[in-house]
C-alpha cells in the first residue's frame, strides 16, 4: 500500500513539474518577457535594470532552475499590476471561488445523483425521459448563455436577484446554478447508465431473494457498485472547479480566481497568470488523486494486495 501511494505521489509531482515547465517554455517563446512585463515603451536602461533585477540576464538554463525552485517553494513572484506578492492576491480571491464551487458542486451532487438513480429505476418511462431531457439541457447549454438567461429573467424581469457582485447569499444563487447545472446534468446521465449497468446483475436478484427491501437494494447493493464511474465523473468535474469558474465569474462579476485570471491575462500580468495556471493544474491533479483514493475505498478488487 505504501508503495502504491508513493508512486501516486511521485506521479502527481511529475505532472505538476511538466505543467510548470510547459508554462515556462510558453512564456519564453511568446516574446521577450521583459517587454511583456514592463511594456514595450520602456527605456533601454530601465529594461536592462529590470533584466538584472529579475535574473533575466542569466543563461536560460539557470533561469529555468531558479524558476522551478521558486515554484517549488511557493514563491510566485510579484504582480506587476499592483506590486503585491502573487500568493497574497490569489489567497484573497480563493475563498470566493471555493464558496461558489462547493455550493455549485454540492447542489449538483444532491440533485444529479438521485435524479440519475430515479431515471434508471424508471427506465423508458416518462420520469426517465423528463430527467434525461433536463440532463441534456444541462450539459448542452453553454455556461455564459445560461448565465445571461438567468440574469435576464431573475434580475431584469423579476428583479429579485442581484445580477452581479458578491456578499450575500442572494448573490450566490445564480452563479451557483449556472456552474452547477452542467455537472448535475453530466452526473445524472452517468449515474443513470452506471445504475442500469448494475441493476440487472445477478447479485441484485440474490439480494431480492434474501428479502432485502427495494430501497435498500438500490442504496446498499446497487449504488456502491455503480459508484466507480460516478466518482470518476465527479473527479473530472471537480478538477474543473476553477477552470469552469472563469466564465461564470466573469458573467456575474464574482470576485474569484476565474475573474482574476481573465483580468491578469488582459493586463499581461504574467506572474499572476503563471501562478494561476499552476493552481488550476494542481486542482485537476489533486481531484484525480482523490478519485484514485476513493476507487480503493469503494472497490475491494482495486484495493488489491490481499488476493
Amino acid at each position: 500500500m505504501t508503495r502504491f501511494w508513493t508512486i501516486k505521489f511521485l506521479r502527481t509531482i511529475l505532472t505538476l513539474w511538466f505543467v510548470v515547465t510547459f508554462a515556462f517554455v510558453v512564456l519564453r517563446t511568446s516574446g521577450d518577457p521583459v517587454v511583456a512585463l514592463i511594456g514595450a515603451d520602456a527605456l533601454p536602461a530601465e529594461i536592462e535594470q529590470f533584466r538584472r533585477q529579475w535574473g533575466l540576464d542569466q543563461p536560460l538554463f539557470v533561469q529555468y532552475l531558479r524558476y522551478v525552485g521558486q515554484m517549488a517553494l511557493g514563491e510566485f513572484g510579484t504582480s506587476l499590476r499592483d506590486q503585491r506578492p502573487v500568493i497574497d492576491i490569489i489567497m484573497e480571491r480563493l475563498p470566493a471561488t471555493l464558496a461558489l464551487g462547493l455550493v455549485a458542486y454540492g447542489a449538483a451532487l444532491v440533485i444529479g445523483i438521485p435524479a440519475g438513480i430515479a431515471a434508471a429505476l424508471r427506465r423508458g418511462r416518462t420520469l426517465d425521459r423528463a430527467i434525461m431531457a433536463f440532463a441534456v439541457f444541462g450539459f448542452a447549454l453553454p455556461n455564459f448563455f445560461l448565465g445571461i438567461l438567468l440574469i435576464l429573467f431573475f434580475s431584469l424581469f423579476l428583479q429579485i436577484l442581484p445580477s452581479s457582485g458578491s456578499g450575500t447569499l442572494a448573490h450566490l444563487v445564480m452563479p451557483a446554478i449556472t456552474l452547477g447545472t452542467f455537472t448535475a446534468g453530466t452526473l445524472a446521465r452517468f449515474t443513470r447508465s452506471a445504475m442500469l449497468e448494475v441493476l440487472d446483475r445477478p447479485y441484485m436478484r440474490a439480494a431480492a431473494a434474501k428479502g432485502v427491501p427495494a430501497w435498500k437494494r438500490v442504496l446498499f447493493h446497487a449504488l456502491p457498485n455503480a459508484a466507480i464511474p460516478i466518482v470518476t465523473v465527479i473527479g473530472l468535474n471537480l478538477g474543473q472547479l476553477i477552470a469552469g469558474a472563469i466564465v461564470v465569474e466573469t458573467v456575474f462579476g464574482w470576485p474569484g480566481i476565474g475573474r482574476l485570471l481573465v483580468q491578469a491575462v488582459s493586463s499581461r500580468d504574467l506572474a499572476v497568470v503563471q501562478a494561476l495556471v499552476l493552481v488550476i493544474a494542481a486542482t485537476m491533479v489533486l481531484a484525480n488523486l482523490l478519485v484514485d483514493l476513493l476507487y480503493g475505498l469503494l472497490d475491494p478488487r482495486i484495493r488489491g494486495g490481499a488476493r
Partner: protein, 543 residues
Amino acid sequence: MTEPLLDIRDLRVPLPPGADRPLAVDGLDLTLEKGEILCIVGETGSGKSLSAFATMGLLPPNLPKPTGEIRFEGRDLLRLSPAERRRLTGRRLAMVFQEPIAVLNPVYRVGEQVAEVFRLHTDMKDAQIRRRVIELFGEVRLPDPEQIVRAYPHQLSGGQCQRVMIATALALDPALLIADEPTTALDVTTQARILKLMLDLRRTHDTGILFITHDFGVVAEIADRVGVMRHGRLVEIGTAEEVLTRPKADYTRELLDAVPRLEPRERRTDFGDVALSARNVSKTFRTRTLFGKLRETRAVDRVDLSISRGETVGLVGESGSGKSTLAQCVIRLERPDEGALSIAGSDFTDLEGATLRTARQRVQIVFQDPYAALDPRQSAGDAVAEGPIIHGVSRRDARARARDLLAAVGLDASAAERFPHEFSGGQRQRICIARALAVEPDLLIADESVSALDVSVQAQILDLLASMQKRLRFGMLFITHDLRVASRICDRITVMRGGRIIEEGPPAELFANPREAYTRELLAAVPGREGHLYTDPARNEST
C-alpha cells in the same frame, strides 16, 4: 392427508407482448413434499427458471403478473402483499443461483452478506450473528470459517462462493430451497461435492428442494422425483426411477437419449499428416502485487502435444488447469516462454507481425459463448466471409463460399443476410464453426464450444463438428471440462492439471484403466455415472 409443502396450481406466467409465445409458463401443476428433492428438467426457454422466479417473487418487473396459485405453508404466495411476501423471502423460502461468483455482491465481505439475512429477518445481536455465520460456514464445509467470513467474493473460488450462497439460503432454516442450476458453472469435482452437500442438508434439515437443471446426470444423482418441462408445460412428472428408466413422453426420451455418456467413440486410425506439434511448451505469468512481491504462475508446464489431420484430441481439466492458456499459446494469442510449436509442419513459435497474421489462418478457434463471439452488427454471411477476404480471397468468391459453408453447417439459404440476434444459441455456434472453417484451417480449436448449449443442441453440434472434420480433414483440439462430451468425440484424451498433461490415452483405455488418482477422481465425479438412464434401443445396436 396433510397439505404438501409447496403446491403450484395452474401457474401461468405471461410474457410481454411481442415475445415468441404468449405464456412462458402455461398451466403448471406440481407439488413438493417436506424433505423431498424435485428436479425440474428442461431446455432453454422451457419456463423452468421463470416458474422458480414466480415462486420466489423474483419475476422481472417488465413481465405481466402471473396467475394461478402457489400455495406454501397454507397461503397463496401470489396473493400476498409485497411486504408480507418479503417477510417470507429469504426466511421460509430461499434460493441459490447459477453463477456463484456473480450472485455475491463484489463490494461486501462474504460474512457480511450472510449476516444481512439475520439483520433483515431477526433481531439478533451482532456478536450472535457473527457466531451463527461462522457456524453456518462450517456447516457448508468452507475451510477456515473464521478467516473466510472476512474475505471478499473475488478472493474465493466458484465452489466456495456457491457454499457461501448456500449458507445464505440456509441461514434461517427455510422450509423450501429453490436451486436454479446451482452446479452448472462449477467443475465436475466441485459439482459432486456441492450435490453431496445438498443431500446432507436435506437429511439434516428436512428441507424441501426444488432443483432446476438441464443435466440428467445431476438428476440421477439427487432427485426423488423429476418433472420435465417444455414450452412452459409439464411434459412428464414421476419418480426419478420411472422418468429416468421408463420415460413415458417422447420428448423425455429424446432428451435422455441426447445426454452424452461415458461411451468412448470407436477407434479410428486413418489420420493424415501432423496438424499440430507442440514440444515442451511452457508459459509462466509474472504479476507484481501491490506490495511489490513477484508472483509466478506456471500456467503451462512443459507440455508435449501432437494432433494429426482428421484426429480429435480432447483436453480435459478443471478451471485453472492451464488448458485455456495452452490453447492461447497454440493460436499465439500468448507467446510461449519455452518450447516449439508447429502447425502443419511449419514453425509457429516465433512468428510476428504480418507473417503471424498470415499464418493464423492455419489455426482457428470456436469459443464457448456463441452470444459474445459474434459481432451483433455483422450479418452471418459477412462474418463467415471476413476471414477469407482478409487472407486475399476476392469478395465474390468469399461470399459464395460463405453461403456454401452456412448451408454445410445446416443453416438455410437466407442465413447469410441475417444478423446474430435472429439466431438461437445453437445456430450461432454453427455460424462460429462456419466462420472458423472458412479459412480452411489445418487445426481447429474448440474451446468449451458446446458447454453453453442444451443437450439436444450439444449433440447436434458435436455431430456437425465430426462430419465437417471428415470432409475437411482438419485436426481438432477439443477443450472441455465434461468427460462425457470428450468421450463422445475424441480419439485421444489428455488430462491436464496444474499446467501439466498428467495422463493421455484413447478414451476406452483411459476410462477402463486410469493410471492417475486425479483421472479417477474426475471419472468418479461425472454425474449420473452410476444411474442407468434410458437409452434408445436403436442406439445400443449401432454402437
